[in-house]
C-alpha cells in the first residue's frame, strides 16, 4: 500500500525546474502528481511519476539531488466533509502528517490525496481498518 515519490532538491535558481522536468521527460517518465515546498533559500519538489526508479536514476546521473520517499495515497469521495474523516482517524491514532497534496483524475469520480506521515505502515493499517480506500502502486497508475 506504499507508493514511491521522488523528492528533489531545487536550488533557488532560474531555469532549475525546467532542467529537472526535462531530465524526467527524457527518462520517459510521466508526472502524475506533484507539489513543491518552498523556503526562501530552496525548494523541495515532490513528484509521483509512472517510472520512479528510471526517473530517479536519470536525475542522479545528471547530478541532481534526489531521493525516493515512501508515501501513501488515499481515495476519498469528492463531497464536502469526506477529507476530514481520514484526518480524524490519523489524529486519533497519533500519527503526524508531514505534508500532503491532492489531485483528481479523469478516470474516476474520486479525489486522491498523497500523504507523507511519520509511520507509513501504521497509518496504512489504521486507515484500512476504518475502511478508507488506499491505492497501491499498480492501482494508482492504472487509474491515470
Amino acid at each position: 500500500m506504499i507508493i514511491k515519490q521522488l523528492s528533489i532538491f531545487v536550488e533557488n535558481k532560474k531555469g532549475r525546474l525546467a532542467e529537472i522536468t526535462e531530465i524526467i521527460s527524457k527518462a520517459d517518465a510521466n508526472i502524475r502528481a506533484l507539489s513543491i515546498a518552498d523556503t526562501t533559500d530552496f525548494g523541495i519538489l515532490r513528484l509521483i511519476v509512472d517510472r520512479p526508479d528510471e526517473a530517479a536514476a536519470a536525475l542522479k546521473s545528471s547530478g541532481i539531488t534526489v531521493s525516493v520517499t515512501n508515501v501513501i495515497a488515499i481515495g476519498i469521495d469528492d463531497t464536502p466533509g469526506a477529507f476530514s474523516v481520514p484526518m480524524r482517524i490519523l489524529s486519533e491514532a497519533d500519527i503526524d502528517v508531514e505534508y500532503m497534496y491532492a489531485f483528481i483524475t479523469r478516470k474516476s469520480e474520486k479525489a486522491y490525496v498523497i500523504l507523507r506521515v511519520a509511520d507509513n505502515d501504521a497509518a496504512a493499517k489504521v486507515l484500512l481498518d476504518k475502511g478508507v480506500e488506499l491505492l497501491d502502486e499498480e492501482g494508482f497508475h492504472k487509474m491515470m
Binding site: Q5, S7, F9, E11, A37, T39, D41, F42, I44, R46, G63, I64, T65, S67, T69, E98, Y99, R116
Partner: protein, 432 residues
C-alpha cells in the same frame, strides 16, 4: 583636551628614540634568555642580544607570525613563569586552537596605560563614567577599556555587550559620559535610541571609543549623528595587548601609537622590506615594553601607513592610518576574527565536503555572515523541517568554533567552488 602622559605622548623624537633603544635591548635579552623559540631563531641567523645597540637595529631581528603562537600553543612563547602571570586572554586562531596571550602585573599596567591614553584623548577625565559595551571574557575588548578607565581614575561601567534596551537605560540612569564598543554595535544602539523615541541630546554621553572592527568615515558621521556624540577610533590586537595600542585624538587624523611600548614598522608583505613613512604596507609591532609575551616584529597582517609628523593636538607619537585591509584572509565580523579555514575545519569534522562560500554583508548596521555548504546525499530530506534541522546542526558547530552566529545555507552537492586552486571562498559586500 588633556593628555594622559605628556612626558611620553609629547616627548621629543630624540627622547623616544633613546627610550625605545633601551627597551628594545632589554626586551631582546629577555626573549633570548627566556623563550627557547626566540633563542633558536636568533641562533639560526647568528644573532646575539649584544648585537642590538639601538632601535635602529630592529631590522636585524626575525619576524614572528600568528602560526608561531599556534605552534607553541598554549604558553610556549611566554618569557615568564606561570606564577608571574596575572591574566590570560585568547582570540580565535586560524585552526581550532585559539591564540593565547599572557600578562604580568606590569603588562596589565602597560595595556591599561594605553587604554587610559585613548580615553583621555577622547576627552575623558577621572570624573567620567566609562560605559564599556565591549564583550567581557577572553576577548580583550571589555577588560581592556575597563582597566584603562580604572587606571586613570575614571568610573568603569562593565555593561558588556547585548541587551540593548538595558544599555540605553543605563546611559539614561547612570549618566555615562563615554561609551566604548564596536562601531557596528554603536550604530545599533544609536538606531535603537531613535526607535525608542529618545532624544540623544537628553543623554549625557558625549563621546564614544570604537574599535575591534573596520569602519568607515561615513559610519563615524552616522554614529555621531545618531547618538549626538564625537566618535573616536581605537586600535589593538590581543597578541600585542588589546585595545589601546593606538588611538584617535580630537584631530582624528590618524591613531597615535603607544610607541614607547609597541614599536611599529611598515613592511612590504612580499619582500619583507621596511617601507618609509607614508607608504602603505603591513603593520608590524615589537612589544618593547612587555614582560610575559615579548613578541619580536609581530606581523599583524593589517595594511596601513605611518606618519611621524607632529599632530596639531601636540602629541609627537607616530600615527597610523585606519587599517584599510589585510594581507591574509582574516575577516572581522561583529568584532570577532574569523578565518575561512575555520569553516573548513568544522565541515571536515562533520564529514562534509570542504567546499563552502562565505557571504558577509551589513544589514541594519550589523554584520551578517552566511555560509553556503554542500549537503551530502544523506543530509537531503523530503521535508523542510528535516533540512532546517541539518542547517541548525551545522550552525551550532560553526558557532562553537567561530564564537559568532553564521547562517548556514545548504546547497546541492557539486555546486560550490572546489577546494583545489584559488577558489573564491569569501564574498564581502560590506563597504569600508
Amino acid at each position: 583636551m588633556s593628555i594622559f602622559k605628556p612626558e611620553i605622548e609629547c616627548a621629543s623624537r630624540d627622547y623616544l628614540h633613546a627610550l625605545q633603544s633601551a627597551r628594545l635591548i632589554k626586551m631582546v635579552k629577555n626573549a633570548y634568555e627566556n623563550v627557547p623559540f626566540y633563542r633558536q631563531k636568533f641562533d639560526e641567523i647568528g644573532l646575539k642580544p649584544e648585537d642590538i645597540h639601538s632601535i635602529d637595529d630592529i631590522t636585524k631581528l626575525p619576524f614572528t607570525v600568528k602560526t608561531d603562537l599556534r605552534d607553541n600553543y598554549p604558553f610556549g612563547l611566554f618569557a615568564v613563569d606561570k606564577g608571574d602571570l596575572v591574566r590570560i586572554h585568547a582570540s580565535s586562531g586560524t585552526t581550532g586552537k585559539p591564540t593565547v596571550v599572557g600578562y604580568t602585573k606590569h603588562d596589565i599596567d602597560v595595556w591599561a596605560d594605553g587604554a587610559a591614553r585613548a580615553i583621555c584623548a577622547a576627552g575623558g577625565t577621572k570624573d567620567d563614567t566609562i560605559h564599556v559595551s565591549y564583550g567581557y571574557g577572553l576577548f580583550t575588548g571589555g577588560l581592556g577599556l575597563h582597566y584603562g578607565a580604572e587606571y586613570m581614575g575614571a568610573t568603569a561601567l562593565p555593561a558588556s555587550s547585548g541587551n540593548t534596551k538595558r544599555q540605553i537605560q543605563m546611559l539614561q540612569d547612570f549618566g555615562s559620559d563615554i561609551i566604548c564598543c564596536t562601531p557596528s554595535y554603536a550604530m545599533f544602539i544609536g538606531e535603537t535610541v531613535r526607535d525608542m523615541g529618545i532624544d540623544p541630546k537628553s543623554l549625557k554621553v558625549r563621546a564614544g571609543i570604537f574599535g575591534a572592527e573596520p569602519w568607515t568615515d561615513e559610519m563615524r558621521k552616522e554614529i555621531e549623528r545618531l547618538l549626538d556624540i564625537k566618535a573616536y577610533d581605537i586600535y589593538g590586537l590581543s597578541e600585542i595587548a588589546g585595545p589601546g595600542v593606538s588611538y584617535d585624538c580630537e584631530c582624528q587624523n590618524g591613531m597615535h601609537v603607544c610607541e614607547d611600548y609597541f614599536y611599529p614598522e611598515i613592511i612590504d608583505p612580499d619582500t619583507l622590506e621596511v617601507l618609509p613613512d607614508g607608504e602603505y604596507g603591513e603593520l608590524v609591532f615589537t612589544c618593547i615594553g612587555k614582560e610575559a609575551l615579548p613578541l619580536v616584529r609581530y606581523r599583524t597582517r593589517d595594511i596601513c601607513a605611518l606618519t611621524r609628523e607632529t599632530c596639531p593636538c601636540g602629541r609627537t607619537t607616530v600615527r597610523m592610518t585606519k587599517p584599510k585591509g589585510r594581507s591574509d584572509d582574516m575577516l572581522i565580523i561583529r568584532g570577532v576574527n574569523v578565518f575561512p579555514s575555520q569553516v573548513e575545519h568544522v565541515l571536515l569534522s562533520l564529514n562534509m565536503a570542504p567546499n563552502y562560500l562565505i557571504l558577509v554583508d551589513r544589514k541594519n548596521n550589523l554584520d551578517t555572515m552566511e555560509v553556503q555548504v554542500e549537503m551530502t546525499p544523506e543530509m537531503f530530506s523530503d521535508t523542510v523541517k528535516g533540512m532546517e534541522n541539518e542547517e541548525k546542526r551545522i550552525e551550532a558547530a560553526l558557532q562553537s568554533t567561530l564564537n559568532i552566529f553564521a547562517k548556514v545555507r545548504l546547497m546541492a552537492p557539486g555546486t560550490l567552488p572546489r577546494s583545489e586552486g584559488k577558489a573564491k571562498r569569501v564574498i564581502d559586500n560590506r563597504v569600508f
